[in-house]
């Protein structure tokens, strides 16, 4: 199984990557996307460098997952393994999980607590919560023999800590000094939707799911920017009125186009129009135990669904009372891992917690809704893989608009994603010239 051990992006030279990035960045019409960006392993390697390790904020976890000082969790940014560490009541660090000595993986468990220091098991080099090297065994040798050279300075071998930013208990990290501050990176509208869910209340972790999906990571992100499919593919959503193209709704993009939010208000069957265009609509379908579909209002606004994507790789899901982050981790050009972190709020009562557990049936690797998604994504990858690289996806629903709309019959968020993707893939080429 490829877990964290697979690093297919490693097999390319700088020149390969530069050529691939230029190819991926080409094309100024975001309503056409060449299949090669889902097929080409060199483009995948370029994405790691220019998107994931470039000027982006990457989700690394929730503060509630590391509740105590010294708590840490392993996570991934692209193919690089990192540790999210709570170093104080209010501060976090993100460190490479790679010893500065010989490169051994420092922490092997999924999570843990270390009161003061991380110790590499191999030669016991130890680091504090900021990644500062604080101890090296036999630095002075044994009885005057051996040991480190006189000019060996611990401070030359600190773990290179990443930049860290947090909004209300959601933690992001960046490798690039040029990444704008997180607030600016999100922009005002996106921060509004983000802080609608992450409103400052302490979170309660409900649980995790992890699954592998055999498709390119971008297809997963695009799927959450695609209201068109959601109103057609998902019988559960359209039949029970959880998400329909005829609902009072909005599609919101930030200025870069890279982030988006889709919102909708739950409707009753008598409000529905266009059922004859929805093959999956099944008027006679009913649940024997309908408690799954009995939500309570979660937020002060009337929106019962808000799906937000933050470029490049995090989705925030607020469907009725089921709240989760979905973290997309690339695992090669045709695979990704999806980590679901379901959460509620620390002030949830027992009834609300039960609702979250029950409605979680809609989501995850067996979700009434997301089971369809995984299947659609895998058949997308299969189809794309068997077609020539110059063939193009057609994204012309709602014209060539790359902006917000007050309806859902649009592919604007996918066009926005590819606009931002091309900007990032092309940017370092321009710098290099």
């Amino acid at each position: 199984m490829d877990g964290t051990a697979a690093h297919p992006g490693k097999n390319f030279s700088k020149d390969d990557i530069a050529r691939a990035a230029a190819l991926a960045a080409s094309g100024d019409d975001a309503s056409r996307v060449a299949f090669r960006v889902y097929q080409d392993p060199a483009i995948y390697a370029a994405e790691l460098e220019r998107v994931f390790y470039g000027p982006t904020w990457n989700y690394v976890g929730l503060a509630a997952e590391v509740p105590n000082v010294g708590d840490w969790r392993r996570n991934m940014i692209g193919e690089r393994e990192v540790l999210l560490v709570r170093k104080s009541e209010t501060e976090f660090s993100v460190l490479p999980n790679v010893c500065a000595h010989r490169g051994a993986q420092i922490c092997q468990a999924l999570k843990g607590n270390t009161e003061k220091a991380f110790m590499c098991p191999y030669h016991q080099w130890t680091y504090d919560h900021d990644g500062k090297l604080i101890g090296v065994p036999f630095r002075r040798g044994v009885k005057g023999n051996g040991g480190m050279p006189a000019d060996f300075e611990l401070s030359d071998y600190n773990l290179p800590a990443l930049r860290v930013a947090e909004i209300n208990g959601v933690i992001f990290a960046s490798y690039d000094a040029a990444t704008p501050p997180l607030d600016d990176y999100l922009g005002g509208d996106m921060k509004h939707y983000f802080t609608r869910v992450f409103d400052g209340r302490k979170l309660r972790i409900v649980g995790h799911h992890r699954q592998m999906i055999d498709c390119n990571w971008k297809l997963q992100m695009e799927n959450l920017k695609d209201p068109y499919h959601a109103g057609l593919l998902h019988l559960f959503l359209v039949t029970f009125g959880l998400f329909r193209l005829d609902q009072k709704s909005a599609t919101v993009l930030d200025d870069t186009g890279g982030h988006s939010a889709l919102t909708a208000r739950r409707s009753s069957p008598d409000e529905h129009v266009g059922n004859d265009e929805i093959a999956s609509y099944t008027p006679d379908y009913a649940l024997e135990d309908p408690t799954l579909l009995e939500p309570v209002m979660e937020f002060d606004d009337e929106m019962t669904l808000a799906i937000q994507t933050v470029f490049p790789s995090i989705i925030v899901q607020a469907q009725s009372n089921t709240l989760a982050t979905r973290h997309v981790i690339p695992k090669g050009v045709g695979r990704h891992e999806l980590i679901w972190t379901f959460f509620g709020y620390e002030d949830d009562d027992a009834d609300r917690h039960e609702l979250r557990l029950r409605q979680a049936n809609l989501m995850g690797p067996a979700g009434y809704v997301t089971l369809d998604d995984a299947e659609a994504l895998e058949i997308s990858q299969r189809g794309v893989d068997s077609a020539p690289p110059d063939n193009e996806a057609v994204l012309v629903l709602d014209g060539d608009n790359i902006g917000s709309t007050d309806h859902l019959v649009t592919e604007a968020p996918i066009r926005g994603f590819h606009k931002q993707y091309r900007d990032l893939m092309g940017r370092e080429i321009a710098n290099a010239l």
């Binding site: 877990g3 999924l110 649980g207 019988l235 024997e288 067996a366 089971l371």
Partner: protein, 175 residues
């Protein structure tokens, strides 16, 4: 009904005596075999009737289990919710068909607690796609609470807890 009560009381006594739980384990093994064959033989419609009216069925990861999380990949609180899962699989979801194959180990009875029998059964679950490729979907354990009823043994709780950290494919039906 008196005979059922007697059976329970006998089981409880034998537990207290530290005595023979083997025959009880054999009965639960039979129940498990019956259960997995209803799924593997594509007769899953009759599976929910093996649960008591108040029940909890859950598939979850060992990660969640160790964290004390109640979350499930599938989580059903009644036989009705289980039947809804079956109906959805048949009629309401878009996916290519898969064949499921459970490989069970023997059952260990941990304890008998009143009418509740707490038992564990290791399981490997293989899945074969429409294209004929087989993969190991999960290495897992059933953590069950089985109870005597007038109709025989029934599952009151069934937790399928998988060791596999990342599910290699979707879970299309209760397992």
């Amino acid at each position: 009904m008196p005979s059922d009560t007697a059976a329970i009381s006998t089981a409880a006594k034998s537990q207290r005596a530290g005595g023979d739980l083997v025959s009880l384990a054999r009965r639960i093994e039979r129940l498990q075999l019956d259960y997995v064959h209803r799924i593997d033989d594509d007769a899953i419609e009759s599976m929910p009737e093996m649960f008591t009216d108040k029940c909890l069925y859950r598939i979850t990861s060992r990660e969640n289990w160790l964290d004390g999380s109640d979350l499930g990949v599938i989580r059903c609180e009644s036989p009705g919710m289980l039947r809804d899962r079956v109906t959805a699989m048949r009629h309401a979801a878009m996916f290519a068909p898969r064949t499921i194959r459970h490989i069970l180990s023997g059952t260990l009875v941990d304890r008998v607690d009143g009418t509740d029998i707490h038992a564990r059964t290791n399981v490997a679950i293989y899945q074969t796609s429409a294209d004929g490729d087989t993969l190991l979907l999960m290495a897992a354990i059933y953590r069950d609470i089985v109870t005597e009823t007038p109709d025989g043994l029934r599952f009151r709780e069934k937790h399928l807890v998988y060791d596999t950290l990342r599910l290699p494919d979707s879970v299309i039906c209760p397992l």
